[in-house]
């Protein structure tokens, strides 16, 4: 394979790495949603004294804790193979 073909193959492999493109979304979206619930609970509930919004706070807490419990081990498993470094060594 020449250089151009190698690069095309690399791009093809990269386009198939769905998990790589999805990782930031999977990790950040629930955290952002939990923060939105906290903000809503604070803005509508605490500042305006409406106890109806306690549920938002509770749910934000469940989602944030549950998400972090799984996100942290997941992010720990995402690691970089030091191929070049090993090759050089």
């Amino acid at each position: 394979m020449n250089r151009k073909e190698i690069r095309q193959a690399q791009k093809l492999i990269l386009s198939r790495r769905l998990e790589l493109w999805l990782t930031p979304l999977l990790v950040l979206a629930p955290i952002i949603f939990a923060v939105v619930l906290f903000v809503e609970s604070f803005g509508q509930g605490v500042l305006q004294g409406v106890t109806l919004y306690d549920g938002e706070f509770l749910l934000g807490g469940i989602i944030l804790v549950g998400t972090l419990l799984f996100d942290i081990p997941f992010l720990r498993t995402v690691h970089f193979r030091r191929r070049q470094k090993k090759e050089n060594d």
């Binding site: 990782t23 549920g55 938002e56 749910l59 995402v78």
Partner: protein
């Protein structure tokens, strides 16, 4: 000459970036777990304001997404799409619809057909209890994993129904958690636990709610999530 050198440097730089990206390893096992927790943000459905056109979109968009995902799954099962495009697929999912499709169907059915008070804890169970039971099973004995899963589900039901009467909270927690663990425990070739863990407790609670309504007993507490912008 300068242009040629610049092009070579850009090519080298691109190769290095590609090399680094290709060197990233993602663990499929934890990827599947995080996919479950990600689904909790679909509860944003309940934060959308109650406007006529938004109400229409609330129905049309989830159904369209499921149809789209269904088409993708049909193409994958038909061989038009390579399995390698779908990271983390289990071997048995090569010959039947993948778990994420079942999860999506369950989610849409709960969001559209069940009241929020019933749908919300069932969705949370699918998001957090299902992966938790999976992790417990890896580390502990099978039965211990299900007992812990039951306790976790019961806590979620109790927390989301905290505004109901104490006897209702107790009954709903026990019945909902039993349904969730049963849904997770049942194994069928063409039905995934990601669907059953959502629908089994929801159907049980729906029947109880409707049955008690006939006796003029109201058990549903006020809703937990309100549309954005205030009530």
């Amino acid at each position: 000459m300068v242009r040629k050198q610049l092009k070579e440097r850009v090519d080298d730089y691109q190769d290095e970036i590609l090399e680094r990206l290709l060197a990233i390893e993602v663990d499929a096992h934890w990827f599947r777990r995080v996919f479950h927790t990600f689904a909790s943000c679909f509860l944003v459905f309940y934060l959308l304001p109650d406007e006529p056109w938004i109400d229409l979109a609330k129905f049309v968009v989830p159904v369209l997404i499921i149809i789209l995902v269904g088409i993708v799954e049909c193409r994958r099962l038909g061989g038009a799409l390579d399995h390698q495009y779908f990271f983390g697929l289990r071997y048995y999912e090569h010959h039947r619809p993948a778990s994420y499709f079942y999860f999506g169907v369950g989610l849409v059915v709960l969001l559209l057909a069940f009241p929020q008070q019933i749908a919300l804890p069932c969705i949370l169970c699918a998001c957090f209890v299902d992966p938790a039971i999976g992790e417990f099973r890896h580390r502990l004995r099978r039965n211990t994993a299900y007992v812990l899963g039951f306790l976790l589900s019961a806590s979620i039901f109790a927390m989301t129904w905290y505004q109901a009467q104490p006897w209702v909270v107790l009954c709903v927690s026990l019945i909902g958690a039993s349904g969730a663990v049963l849904g997770e425990r049942l194994k069928f070739q063409w039905l995934d636990d990601d669907l059953l863990i959502q629908l089994v407790p929801a159907i049980l609670l729906f029947i109880i709610w409707q049955g008690l309504s006939l006796l003029h007993i109201t058990i549903l507490p006020p809703i937990l999530l309100h549309p954005l912008g205030g009530v």
